[in-house]
Amino acid sequence: MLEIKNLNFYYGDNHILKNISFSAESGSLWGLMGPNGSGKTTFFKCILGLLKYAGGQIKINNIDYKKLNTPKLAKLISYVPQEHKPPFPFTVREIVLMGRSPHMGGIFGLKKEDYNEAEKAIELVDIADIADKPVTALSGGQRQLTLIARSIAQNAPVMILDEPTSALDFNNQISIWKILKKLSSTGKLIIACSHDPNHLLWFAENTLVIKNGEILASGKTDDIITNSLLKEIYGSEYNILHNDTNKIIQPVL
């Protein structure tokens, strides 16, 4: 589904991404982790076609990115950016409807199907109660849920989420990960980054770890997130506790 070979990205003289190679199949949920400034967002923006990479190749559905224009790419890959406040008070419903843009045609473009898809996304993320409120009047977490719903409405086979749960309360964090897991089981490839490695242990079957613009590890989450890896990424000691069903990371106090 997604194939990345020897991806390099420079910002001025800074070598941000170094020879990244990575591939992932549809129907899987990937967690991306790495310390602040490791290049996670840059990595995402290259995959999304927002940044022009210097060397290497990205293929989606076996099509090279160089052959894809912006409208075509938007049908294949959707994005949940870090939460931000738009300057105009669009309602939640209008923002979610914007997710239907890549599928629109004609002058006014929005068909009944588009409204239905937007409604379904709103129901799935459970924000029907705020659907007619302007997003400028909502909390950061509610805006994040709105952007997730927009991406779901976009209905692309690949979904990229940049810290989708950073502004959410504990319960909403868990329900978003549950939704992501459910979506991946319907055949989507989902890559989400998170600063809580517990989320990856609980929900993401695969994990990709980036540090200093290089891939430190990638594969099955259970094999990858270990005491030694956490020590290597963050430089402090952590214990991974096991119970019958789950693992949980605990700092050594």
Partner: protein, 342 residues
């Protein structure tokens, strides 16, 4: 469901504004130094459109309605549509609700062009064409100044607009300094705006450019929505932000320039009407653009009628639009800012 009901409410507002516009047109044609009855006016319009008339039309009435008042009315409508649509386009592109159509220097460029033509009539360039050329030139300069490696940074664009604007303002000041009393008076009047020069030949040019630009803007209104939430959002939703920014800026600039060159600088309309529209319908540009345009047309029509009937002489329309517009904007800023912008 709710979106359908909302859609209907917006359509009702558009219909209502069209009705108000027709009333305003009739009111504007009736008003003036020589009173005409609505019946006479309607009869003349009917005669001109279909060649059929219910009663004898005097030559004098015909001339007043068709050659004097009608061109002003149509020009007011066109200018209202042009400035309001351009305002909505610029505000969306710049993601800033306080941007107005002259942000990129169109007004100072046009003033310079007009002053040049007034001061040196020997150059054989009529005021209107000279104003148009320099308005366009000023905006394109700002645009080229801000464009780097094919990307357009909006903050850079505003900044280059300020720079270009102040250069042309300074040039206008030099011209004013050099000009004689009658020329100075003419330049000053031109800069305050007015529809008194409106003629049918102006209208054909303006109508052609402004209507085409309006239709383009309306067709791409949904893309303007995407652009207004952010470049990266727009791109991941399938539109190329730089392409559409260029389309919108060219469209808005053409409208503004052609309108400014015919009627001078009319302040406030382009800033005010998109706000008024958002207050009525929310920020969806598919509705903001037509509603702001209709509102702008009605507003300018009323202001122009006041401008030519309030006193024996003619008050520059820019003064009226500002005097009525400023309190409205203050009200928005104080009472409704939360609903309109951050």
């Amino acid at each position: 469901m709710i979106s359908n009901i909302l859609g209907d409410k917006r359509k009702i507002i558009i219909l209502l504004l069209i009705v108000i516009l027709f009333c305003a047109i009739l009111f504007a044609i009736i008003s003036g130094n020589s009173e005409l009855s609505p019946k006479t006016v309607l009869n003349i319009i009917l005669f001109k459109l279909t060649g059929f008339s219910f009663e004898e039309i005097s030559k004098r009435d015909m001339a007043i309605v068709w050659n004097m008042r009608m061109p002003r009315v149509i020009m007011a409508i066109l200018a209202g549509v042009a400035l309001s649509t351009a305002g909505a386009l610029y505000q969306g592109c710049f993601r800033n609700p306080l941007v107005e159509p002259f942000i990129l220097g169109a007004s100072s460029g046009a003033s310079f062009g007009a002053a040049l033509a007034i001061l040196f009539p020997a150059l054989f360039l009529p005021v209107q064409i000279s104003a148009f050329i320099f308005a366009l030139f000023a905006v394109l300069s700002s645009y080229m100044l801000a464009r780097q490696k094919g990307e357009i940074n909006t903050v850079g664009l505003v900044l280059s607009g300020v720079i270009i604007g102040s250069i042309f303002s300074a040039l206008v000041s030099i011209m004013k300094y050099l000009s004689e009393d009658t020329q100075l008076r003419e330049i000053t009047f031109w800069m305050m705006g007015g529809l008194y020069h409106a003629s049918w030949s102006d209208i054909y040019v303006n109508a052609f450019v402004i209507l085409i630009c309006f239709i383009i803007s309306w067709i791409f209104a949904w893309k303007l929505n995407l652009l207004s939430i952010g470049d990266e959002d727009a791109k991941t939703l399938g539109i190329n932000p730089d392409t559409y920014k260029t389309i919108f800026i060219i469209t808005a600039t053409l409208m503004t320039s052609v309108c400014v060159s015919s009627v001078g600088i009319i302040a406030w309309v382009g800033l005010m009407m998109p706000h008024a529209a958002r207050l009525l319908t929310g920020p969806d540009n598919r509705y903001v653009i037509p509603i702001a345009s209709l509102g702008g047309a009605v507003y300018l029509l009323i202001c122009d009628t006041i401008a030519r009937t309030l006193t024996a002489g003619e008050i520059p329309i820019g003064i009226i639009t500002s005097i009525i517009g400023a309190p409205f904007l203050i009200w928005i800023l104080r009472a409704k800012s939360g609903r309109l912008f951050n």
